[in-house]
C-alpha cells in the first residue's frame, strides 16, 4: 500500500512527463478496444446477416454440389428425398435448385446463376413471396448490386437462356418482380432468383433440388446422397477473414504498445539514474532492495492505471458515439464477396475491455521491472554520496 501511495506521489510530482507517458499509453488502450470492437461488430453482423439471408440454420447439399466449382452444377441435383418432405411442409427446411445460365441485359451476354426458391419459404429473409405467378413472363428477383451492375429496375423484362437436364437450350423472358437490398453479396451478385416450381419445369427436373436450407435450431435428417453442412463449414470463410484482420490488428496494437512501452522504459531508466540518492537513503533506512525494486516497478505500473483513467475520459464518449452511429464501410468491399452492411456497429464486450486493461498493465509492469533490476546491483553508500553507478 505504501509503495502505491509513494508511486502516485512520485508520478504526480514528475508532472508533464507522467501525463505524456499516460497519454501515449491511453491511445494504445483506445485503439486496441476500438479495433477489436469493430472486428467483433463486423463478425457478429456478418454472421447474423449470413444466417438470415443465405445459410439459415445450415445447409444440406446434394453430394455432387460444390459452391466453389460451378462445373459441378450440371450434376448437382437430385429429387428431394421423401424423408425431408415433413420438415419442408412444416417450413423448417426449404429446397433450392441452382443452375448456370446466361442473361442478356441491354443486348450483352452475361453468365448468371439461376436459383429456384419456394415463394412460401420463411427461413431466409429473401422476399420470395414477391415471386407470384405472372402470365406474361417468369417472375424473378435480383439484388441491388445485380440491378445496379446491369441497369435493371423493377418491372423490366430481360431474356435468360439455360439448358435443361438433357442439355437442350431454352430461353424465355423474365420480369424483374422485385429488387431486394441485402448486405450479403453471396445471394446477390450474378444471381437471379426464380420460383422453384418454375425453374424445376424449365430444367425438366421436377421435385429436384441442389441443396436445402434448414431453419435455425433444426437438426438435419441424415440421408445418403445428401451432406449436412454446419456453420463450421458455411461460416469458415468469414471466420478466416476476421482471423486475418485480427492478425493485421495485432501488428497495429504491437506498434502502439511498443511506443508506449519505450516511453515508460525510458522514464524508468531516467528516474533510477536521477534518484540514486533517494534509493541509497531508502536502503540505509532499512528498506530491502526488493522493496525498493517493488516501489519503482509499482511506479511504472501506475502509468497503466493513469492511462486507463485518461483513456476512459476521452475514449468512452468517442467509442460510445461510434457504437451508436456505426462506421461506414468502404464501397468496394462488396467486390470481395464479403458480407458487410453499409455501416458496422462495433461491439465492446466486458471481456474485451478487461482483457485489454490486463494486457497493458502486465506489459507496463514488465517494462517497469526490467530497469529497476539495476537497483539490486547498487551500493547504498555510493548511492547516498551521489556517486554515479
Amino acid at each position: 500500500m505504501l509503495a502505491i501511495k509513494l508511486a502516485f506521489k512520485n508520478l504526480i510530482g514528475a508532472g508533464l512527463r507522467t501525463w505524456l507517458n499516460a497519454f501515449v499509453l491511453s491511445i494504445a488502450y483506445v485503439v486496441i478496444i476500438w479495433h477489436s470492437g469493430i472486428l467483433e461488430g463486423w463478425n457478429r453482423q456478418a454472421r447474423r446477416d449470413m444466417i438470415d439471408w443465405q445459410i439459415g440454420g445450415g445447409e444440406v447439399w446434394q453430394k455432387n454440389y460444390d459452391p466453389y466449382d460451378p462445373f459441378t452444377l450440371t450434376d448437382a441435383h437430385a429429387p428431394v428425398p421423401e424423408k425431408f418432405q415433413e420438415q419442408i411442409k412444416a417450413g423448417k427446411l426449404t429446397p433450392i435448385l441452382v443452375t448456370s445460365g446466361s442473361f442478356y441485359p441491354e443486348g450483352r451476354i452475361q453468365s448468371v446463376l439461376l436459383k429456384g426458391i419456394d415463394p412460401q419459404q420463411s427461413i431466409l429473409k429473401l422476399p420470395a413471396g414477391s415471386l407470384q405467378k405472372d402470365n406474361e413472363a417468369i417472375p424473378a428477383m435480383i439484388g441491388t448490386r445485380m440491378a445496379k451492375n446491369n441497369r435493371l429496375k423493377e418491372g423490366d423484362y430481360v431474356t435468360i437462356r439455360w439448358r435443361d437436364a438433357l442439355g437442350t437450350f431454352d430461353a424465355a423472358e423474365i420480369k424483374i418482380a422485385r429488387i431486394f437490398k441485402t448486405s450479403v453479396p453471396a445471394v446477390d451478385n450474378g444471381q437471379i432468383w426464380l420460383p422453384l416450381d418454375q425453374l424445376q419445369n424449365m430444367l425438366q427436373m421436377p421435385g429436384e433440388a441442389t441443396y436445402l436450407i434448414l431453419e435455425p435450431g433444426q437438426n438435419p435428417i441424415k440421408i445418403s446422397g445428401w451432406q449436412h453442412q454446419g456453420y463450421d463449414v458455411l461460416l469458415a470463410e468469414m471466420d478466416e477473414i476476421i482471423r486475418r484482420k485480427s492478425i493485421g490488428g495485432t501488428i497495429l496494437y504491437t506498434i502502439m504498445l511498443l511506443l508506449a512501452m519505450l516511453a515508460i522504459f525510458d522514464t524508468q531508466v531516467f528516474a533510477i539514474f536521477r534518484r540514486q540518492k533517494e534509493i541509497g537513503t531508502d536502503i540505509a533506512l532499512g528498506m530491502t532492495r526488493g522493496q525498493v525494486i517493488g516501489l519503482f516497478t509499482v511506479e511504472g505500473a501506475v502509468h497503466g492505471i493513469l492511462a486507463a483513467v485518461m483513456a476512459a475520459i476521452y475514449g468512452i464518449p468517442l467509442l460510445s458515439m461510434q457504437a451508436v452511429h456505426g462506421m461506414a464501410m468502404p464501397e468496394g468491399m462488396d467486390d470481395y464477396g464479403l458480407a458487410g452492411a453499409e455501416r458496422i456497429f462495433p461491439v465492446y464486450s466486458t471481456a474485451l475491455i478487461i482483457g485489454t486493461v490486463i494486457l497493458v498493465m502486465i506489459t507496463t509492469t514488465i517494462v517497469s521491472y526490467l530497469p529497476s533490476l539495476k537497483i539490486a546491483k547498487m551500493k547504498p553508500t555510493d548511492a547516498i554520496r551521489g556517486k554515479l553507478q
Binding site: P70, F71, L73, T74, S100, S102, Y104, E106, G107, R108, I109, T159, R161, R163, D164, L166, G167, T168, F169, D170, A171, A172
Partner: protein
C-alpha cells in the same frame, strides 16, 4: 365444310409438291461430309469496340476427328485444338500445356466468338439428330432453295429445332436459324458467299450470330478447302498438339 375440304386439299397439294425433308437432309449431309478435308480459314470476331481476326488451318477426318492450328495473330499462333470423337483437347504454347475441355467448359465461347466448343463438337450429320420437313421455298443469293424445319429426334441435342434454307440443286445450306425449346431464336447463320470446291458447293463467307445478343457476330471466311487429301494419322494424336 366445303371451305375446310378445299383448304385441306390445297394444303395436301402444296405438300405433295415438296420433296421429303429427310431425303434432302441426307443429300445435305452427303454434300457437307467428306472422307477428309483440309481447310484454311479466317475468323473475324466483331467485338463492341474492335474486331479480331484469327487465321487457322484444320485437318478433318469424317465427323469424328479434327485438328486445328491457329496461325495468326501472334498471340494465338501455335494454339491447337484436337477433337477425337467426343473428347476435345486444347494446347496453349504459352503455358506449354494440353487441357481437356469437358463438361461445362464445352459451353464456353471459342476465342470470344459467337461459337461455343460444343457447337464445334456437334455431330455434323444432321440426319442423326433431326427429322426434317419442307415448309416452303425462298430465294437466297439468287438461288432457289427449300426451307426445311428440323425437329430434334434425340433428347440430348443442343438445339431443339432448326430452320435451314437449302439450295434446291446443289444441296448446300444458305441460311440457318437455331431455336430454343420455347421457340425463341437463339443463333443465326447467314451465308454471304459460296464457292465450288471439286464437285461440291461450300460456304465461303458465313456470319454466325447469337440472336439474343447485340453486335455483328462472328464472320468465318473460307480461304481454301481440299477434299479427300492425304492426312497422316499422327495429326489426330495428342502428341501432335505439342509439335
Amino acid at each position: 365444310m366445303k371451305h375446310i375440304i378445299i383448304y385441306f386439299l390445297t394444303t395436301l397439294t402444296l405438300y405433295a409438291q415438296y420433296p421429303d425433308g429427310n431425303v434432302l437432309l441426307e443429300k445435305i449431309d452427303r454434300n457437307m461430309i467428306s472422307r477428309n478435308k483440309i481447310i484454311i480459314s479466317r475468323m473475324i470476331i466483331h467485338g463492341r469496340r474492335a474486331s479480331r481476326t484469327i487465321e487457322s488451318k484444320s485437318w478433318i477426318q469424317g465427323s469424328e476427328k479434327s485438328f486445328t492450328e491457329y496461325l495468326s495473330p501472334a498471340r494465338e499462333k501455335g494454339t491447337k485444338m484436337l477433337k477425337l470423337d467426343d473428347e476435345l483437347w486444347t494446347y496453349s504454347p504459352s503455358a506449354d500445356r494440353s487441357i481437356r475441355i469437358s463438361g461445362h467448359m464445352l459451353r464456353q465461347s471459342v476465342m470470344g466468338s459467337d461459337l461455343s466448343y460444343e457447337d464445334m463438337m456437334e455431330d455434323p450429320k444432321m440426319q442423326n439428330l433431326y427429322s426434317a420437313g419442307v415448309i416452303g421455298e425462298d430465294t437466297l443469293l439468287n438461288r432457289s432453295c427449300w426451307i426445311l424445319e428440323l425437329q430434334a429426334k434425340v433428347p440430348d441435342v443442343a438445339y431443339h429445332s432448326r430452320k435451314i434454307w437449302v439450295d434446291k440443286t446443289r444441296y448446300n445450306i444458305l441460311k440457318e436459324e437455331r431455336f430454343a425449346k420455347s421457340g425463341k431464336l437463339l443463333k443465326t447463320t447467314d451465308i454471304l458467299e459460296i464457292m465450288q470446291a471439286d464437285d461440291r458447293w461450300v460456304a465461303k463467307r458465313i456470319i454466325f450470330k447469337d440472336a439474343l445478343k447485340q453486335g455483328r457476330g462472328t464472320e468465318f471466311i473460307l480461304e481454301s478447302i481440299e477434299f479427300d487429301a492425304h492426312i497422316p494419322d499422327y495429326i489426330f494424336s495428342k502428341a501432335a498438339l505439342r509439335k
